[in-house]
């Protein structure tokens, strides 16, 4: 089943990002299927994190369109919206992410992300980190601080709901015992889990993970695999991840996109990608001319 062609939540078209003379991403097209775990892989410097930064609004792409369709039907209106110059439809089902500032991508587009080098609020406790992630819903509950200052019951109900959600993710990530400790005090693996829990507390529809398994040992990687599958199966979202750990990628991905030097060199199911000679060449560092040779060798 190739959901990424029939029902994509994210459609990236002609994405190009130049930094001065450097072309970090060159005319990239790919799709993320609704409910899939999609992996974006490639050698160091292939432009994976740049793609992430474009999707999440941290970079404005030089060219290209990034469409987020929160419902399958919304995609039908894609070309109309592109022509109007607006950021998305009024019903909030379709967004053109390249037109939105980063915080709007997260808030309205429901795209959450983690960072390659963990970015937690180190001096705040684990629980506070999870509450900051629910800023926008809490802000509404607190009536933009007016109701909150007066301590009205509607705000207290909002806080109780936020705490319940935080407790749920603390349980899921095995961090309940450390809820009142500062985030910087956690060991590395726990910080990685907390960052994912924090992203999940913002109730995303698309979760972007930048190398979630980096620095984890094999056992932690296996736990991460199970955790990501649990999220996908129980929380109605799609996951896009950058990963170097092929164990993680091959085991859990439904769909893999391979980048090299800012261009897409392969796109398909894990089995297709695994047997793609261009991928093997890119990973083994073979010159372009030798790809044919490699291919011949592989087929024999």
């Amino acid at each position: 089943m190739r959901r990424w062609t029939t029902d994509p939540i994210l459609t990236v078209e002609h994405l190009t990002m130049r930094f001065g003379g450097l072309v970090a991403v060159d005319n990239l097209d790919f799709q993320v299927g609704r409910g899939d775990i999609t992996a974006l892989i490639g050698p160091n410097g292939a432009g994976k994190t740049t793609v992430f930064n474009c999707i999440t609004g941290f970079y404005k792409p030089t060219e290209g369109r990034i469409a987020l369709a929160l419902t399958p039907e919304a995609r039908n209106r894609l070309d109309d919206i592109t022509a109007t110059g607006r950021r998305g439809t009024h019903d909030g089902h379709l967004f053109l992410l390249e037109r939105m500032p980063d915080y709007e991508v997260a808030r309205r587009g429901k795209v959450a992300r983690t960072f390659q080098n963990i970015r937690l609020f180190g001096g705040m406790t684990v629980l506070e980190n999870l509450l900051v992630a629910q800023h926008n819903s809490l802000m509404e509950a607190s009536g933009y601080s007016i109701r909150g200052l007066l301590g009205l019951p509607s705000y207290r109900a909002g806080v109780a709901a936020a705490l319940d959600r935080a407790r749920y993710w603390l349980d899921r990530t095995d961090l309940t015992d450390r809820a009142d400790d500062p985030a910087s005090d956690l060991p590395y693996g726990a910080q990685r889990r907390l960052e994912i829990a924090r992203a999940m507390c913002s109730e995303p529809k698309l979760l972007c993970l930048d190398e979630p398994a980096a620095g984890l040992n094999p056992r932690e990687s296996a736990e991460l695999n199970r955790f990501l599958q649990f999220i996908r199966d129980n929380h109605d979202l799609s996951i896009l991840l950058i990963e170097h750990d092929m164990g993680v990628v091959m085991e859990i991905s439904d769909h893999i996109v391979v980048l090299d030097y800012g261009e897409k060199i392969s796109d398909g199911s894990p089995d297709e990608v695994r047997s793609d000679p261009r991928v093997i060449a890119a990973y083994l560092g073979v010159e372009d001319e030798e790809v044919d040779t490699v291919e011949r060798e592989m087929s024999t």
Binding site: Y103, A106, A112, G122, E128, L131, T176, D181, L216
Partner: protein, 487 residues
């Protein structure tokens, strides 16, 4: 997940765009100034001599022009008086002092070796002590005028005035704490909002004759408006750049106050600013006044005591609102902004609005304090709002501990109260002779206190952070984890 892998993983972070930032931070994280660890005694002596010589040379370079040369008015202009003996004394003191310190106080291991008493200084007191101390401080604050009138009847006016001064700085410190301590935005022009509040109150009260209680919120709102006006252009700036622009903003406001003669009366200032009344009762002698209505003898001190309670109420209001805001989403967003702005944006927090609310609310409290200042003095001029005021408020916040409400109270009492008391200390004259004037050394002592506290407690007096919410127990977060903000 296992502990072994976790500990080894800390230093094996994957490479990436953010790593440069982290490397920069790690590079700035601080190394002791002395890196050499000579093993043999001769090496130690040689290193000590070298360091002492360098220190002496720096002293010579500084003291040469500063102490060695002095201009004195003479017939037909200035003459240059040369004083090389004090320079030589200064250089000798530094040379010998540094040599002795290096040889005996910091032997071999560098500055990390500290005397035993030093370690005990930073030991945290049991949590109950904190609550008792806060309660005691509150009681003293509440009863201060009566305590003073009972204990020091002849000095009561002077002491209550001092209390007013300290309370003003506490309130300013609490207001600035929102911007600097919580949101992590270094604002060196905070006095501008104090000035806006003071002039707003004075002008509205003088021209429209509205009462203090009507003007106060208006002045606060106007200051908040100026906070937003400052906030917009500086949103993109961080760290040093932000500090410079806010500093310039403070100066601009002062220069406008000096030069806009038609509105502000220029450097002459505004006088005869109306005083607040006690529910319509003026503090004047004779029939219809406060004393007459309550059937007590008229005393000028009644007004001062009244002022004291107005300011106490304003300060407590500031404190209440700040504590409340810290536990609201907006307060947590301020602190998150201080910790990591990029992570905030990735969670859908509009950092522009968050910074602006911090600037606006901080400025509003500054405006309240300014209105009070205007009504208490009855006279304001641009001279009251120079950079020294901003620096003092920032010093109070930093010394008290960024983000700590009670730390600001302690540092205000020590810095402002301590310096004022210095004026009145008599026994120093007995030691240093009748010509000794302690006020001349105020800034020197101020500087020494700052250096001492920054060495002893680099994160301020109360550096730990209390979490805004907890699951099982509220445990203070140690200062080493708390970010200082880079914007």
């Amino acid at each position: 997940m296992t502990a072994a892998s976790e500990s080894s993983a800390v230093n094996t972070r994957p490479p990436g765009a953010e790593i440069e930032d982290e490397n920069r931070e790690a590079a700035m994280a601080g190394e002791p100034p002395f890196k050499t660890h000579p093993t043999a005694r001769q090496d130690l002596l040689a290193a000590a001599l070298k360091e002492a010589a360098i220190a002496a040379f720096i002293t010579l370079a500084l003291a040469g022009p500063l102490i060695g040369l002095k201009t004195e008015p003479a017939v037909g202009g200035l003459t240059l008086v040369q004083r090389w003996t004090p320079v030589a004394v200064a250089v000798a003191i530094v040379f010998v002092g540094r040599l002795l310190l290096r040889l005996f106080v910091w032997p071999a291991a560098g500055v990390e070796r500290r005397p035993a008493w030093y370690a005990r200084l930073g030991v945290a007191l049991p949590p109950a002590t904190g609550r008792v101390a806060v309660g005691a401080l509150f009681l003293v604050g509440l009863l201060l005028p009566f305590l003073v009138m009972w204990l020091f009847p002849s000095y009561s006016r002077q002491f209550i005035d001092l209390g007013l001064l300290i309370l003003t700085y506490i309130m300013l410190g609490w207001g600035l704490n929102i911007v600097v301590g919580l949101a992590g935005l270094l604002d060196l022009g905070y006095v501008a909002f104090y000035a806006v509040g003071a002039y707003s109150y004075a002008l509205i009260a003088l021209h429209f004759g509205w009462s203090f209680w009507v003007c106060l919120p208006i002045a606060g709102l106007l200051a908040a408006l100026w906070g937003i006006a400052l906030g917009f252009p500086v949103l993109r700036l961080r760290g040093d750049y932000l500090a410079i622009v806010t500093l310039a903003f403070g100066e601009i406001i002062r220069l406008v106050l000096i030069n806009w003669q038609e509105l502000t009366n220029g450097p002459v200032g505004l006088s005869r600013i109306p005083r607040p009344s006690f529910f319509g009762l003026e503090f004047v002698p004779g029939p219809g006044g406060f004393a007459d209505y309550f059937g007590i003898d008229y005393k000028p001190i009644h007004r001062i005591v009244f002022f004291y309670y107005i300011l106490l109420a304003l300060a407590l209001f500031t404190n209440f609102v700040t504590i409340r805001l810290r536990r609201l989403p907006v307060g947590r967003a301020w602190e998150a902004l201080r910790e990591d702005e990029i992570a905030c944006r990735s969670l859908g927090i509009n950092t522009t609005n968050t910074k602006l609310t911090a600037f606006a609310i901080g400025a509003m409290f500054g405006g309240f304090a300014g209105s009070f200042f205007a009504t208490r003095q009855g006279f304001i001029s641009p001279e009251s709002f120079n950079f020294t005021e901003s620096a003092t408020i920032v010093a109070i916040v930093v010394l008290g501990g960024l983000g700590s409400q009670i730390g600001i109270v302690i540092s205000s009492v020590v810095l402002i109260g301590g310096l004022e008391l210095l004026r009145n200390i008599g026994f120093l004259k007995a030691i240093f002779g009748p010509d000794f004037d302690p006020t001349q050394y105020r800034l020197l002592i101020f500087g020494l206190a700052m250096v001492f506290i920054m060495v002893w407690r680099p994160r301020g007096l109360i550096a730990t952070r209390l979490p805004s919410v907890f699951l099982k127990e509220r445990r203070a977060v140690s200062a080493e984890f708390v970010g200082e903000g880079r914007g």
